[in-house]
């Protein structure tokens, strides 16, 4: 479904991605783990079109999208939940969710999807009229996920969804991710919580200084001595 070949990206003269190759098949949950500054977020932003590629190729369902603007990628059913939630703090919770459906025009469909989001994330229904900036970190993470799901993505890019959350919230986030996978959403998950990510992932990639250093099934990486030492704290 998603194929990344020899991808490079720069911030000015600094090269952040050094020839990255990644593949995500339809229906898969693929995790990308690695330390701070490894280039995980840059890779995700390059896939969603927020960061420019300086070389290589990003293909989605066979179509070259390397130079496509971010908005058009959303129309192809690619949605991103950004690191740090990035909700619109002054807007109400409901307006934030509705914004996720900006590529849709069928009002009936949007209303039905909104109700579905309230069913999945009941806390958002309770807070629907409050400014998003008043929500706690966990509530904002639910909001960011609901907003992304409103576009009915077939490929969901998740950037550090568990960052800074309590253990019970981390558990809830991963439970939602598993549910989405069971419902057929293809997921590319970037996480520093390598243990949790690799436990739910079909496959994983380990990234170091802008390069993929290791790849394999989630289970294989969980048992890999190098991964254990570097990322799992074992």
């Amino acid at each position: 479904m998603l194929k990344i070949e020899n991808l490079t990206s720069h911030y000015g003269r600094i090269q952040a991605l050094h020839g990255v190759d990644v593949e995500v098949n339809e229906g898969e949950l693929v995790a990308l783990v690695g330390g701070n500054g490894a280039g995980k977020t840059t890779l995700l932003r390059t896939i969603s079109g927020l960061q420019e590629a300086s070389g290589g190729k990003v293909s989605f369902e066979g179509q070259d999208i390397t130079s496509m603007v971010a908005e058009k990628r959303v129309r192809l059913d690619i949605a991103q939940v950004p690191e740090g939630r990035q909700v619109f703090t002054a807007l109400s919770v409901e307006d934030n969710i509705r914004l996720g459906a900006y590529t849709k025009s069928d009002k009936g469909e949007i209303s039905a999807d909104l109700e579905q989001m309230y069913g999945r994330f009941p806390i958002l229904k309770e807070k629907r009229n409050l400014p998003a900036g008043t929500l706690s970190g966990g509530q904002q993470q639910m909001l960011a996920m609901a907003r992304a799901l409103m576009s009915r993505p077939r490929l969901l890019l998740l950037d550090e969804p568990s960052m800074g959350l309590s253990p019970v919230l981390v558990m809830e986030i991963f439970s939602i991710i598993e549910e989405l996978k069971e419902q057929g959403v293809t997921i590319f998950l970037v996480e520093q919580n390598a243990t949790a990510a690799l436990r739910v992932a079909d496959r994983g990639y380990v990234m170091e200084t802008g390069k993929i250093s290791l790849t394999g099934s989630g289970e294989k990486l969980l048992n890999d001595e190098t991964v254990k030492a570097a990322y799992l704290g074992i």
């Binding site: 806390i123 706690s136 509530q139 253990p167 019970v168 919230l169 558990m171 439970s175 549910e179 969980l222």
Partner: protein, 197 residues
């Protein structure tokens, strides 16, 4: 890592997250941030329900019936520890029931119950921590060392039933829902702070 160990570790992790919510309750009661009137008894009931149905009914019996006998058959190295763990499994049920009685008394505004709840909760949390530490640091490494793939087969199968959505009352989905309810009710930032006054 065998299937059973993987599941056991995941189940310990789930339990730890729920205990973390209980621990916050202790801290809030102790610091006076919560009074007996403010306690969310529905949240407490959900947590106790989770512990009873998940830990006391599914997790511990699998250890007692499959993992421990396999280890006892293979080595005498862990006899004392296993006896200790089995005793803790039994006492855990008694402690939970005692805790529920104290909570009910606090809800009914019996004098001095807040302190009793705090003490009982602290004991309960500490007992779980020590119990899991023994299993994670002694039993699981020993089992990985001495049990053969043939020994693991029935243990794997038993623990897999905890996760298999086609087994019995779909425990995986049931516990997922319970955990989700606990997360919803637990006050922010620990949980989502749903339906707060």
């Amino acid at each position: 890592m065998t299937k059973a160990i993987n599941i056991m570790k995941r189940e310990h992790l789930s339990l730890n997250t729920v205990l973390h919510v209980l621990n916050q309750l202790v801290l809030d009661l102790e610091a006076g941030r919560l009074t007996a009137d403010d306690v969310d008894y529905e949240l407490f009931e959900k947590i106790m329900n989770y512990i009873e149905e998940f830990l006391d009914t599914m997790h511990h019996p699998k250890e007692d019936q499959y993992l421990f006998p396999a280890l006892l058959k293979k080595t005498s190295e862990s006899n004392d520890v296993i006896m200790q763990l089995q005793e803790q499994h039994q006492k855990g049920v008694e402690h939970r029931k005692k805790l529920e009685i104290h909570f009910q008394a606090m809800k009914d505004k019996h004098p001095g119950q807040v302190e009793k709840v705090i003490d009982a909760l602290k004991d309960y949390l500490q007992a779980h921590r020590e119990h899991m530490k023994l299993e994670d640091n002694v039993i699981i490494p020993l089992a990985e060392r001495v049990l053969t793939p043939e020994d693991w087969a029935p243990i794997d199968e038993a623990f897999n039933q905890n996760e298999d959505p086609v087994f019995g009352d779909t425990p995986k989905n049931k516990f997922r829902k319970l955990l989700s309810d606990i997360t919803f009710l637990a006050p922010a930032p620990i949980g989502l702070g749903g339906r707060r006054k």
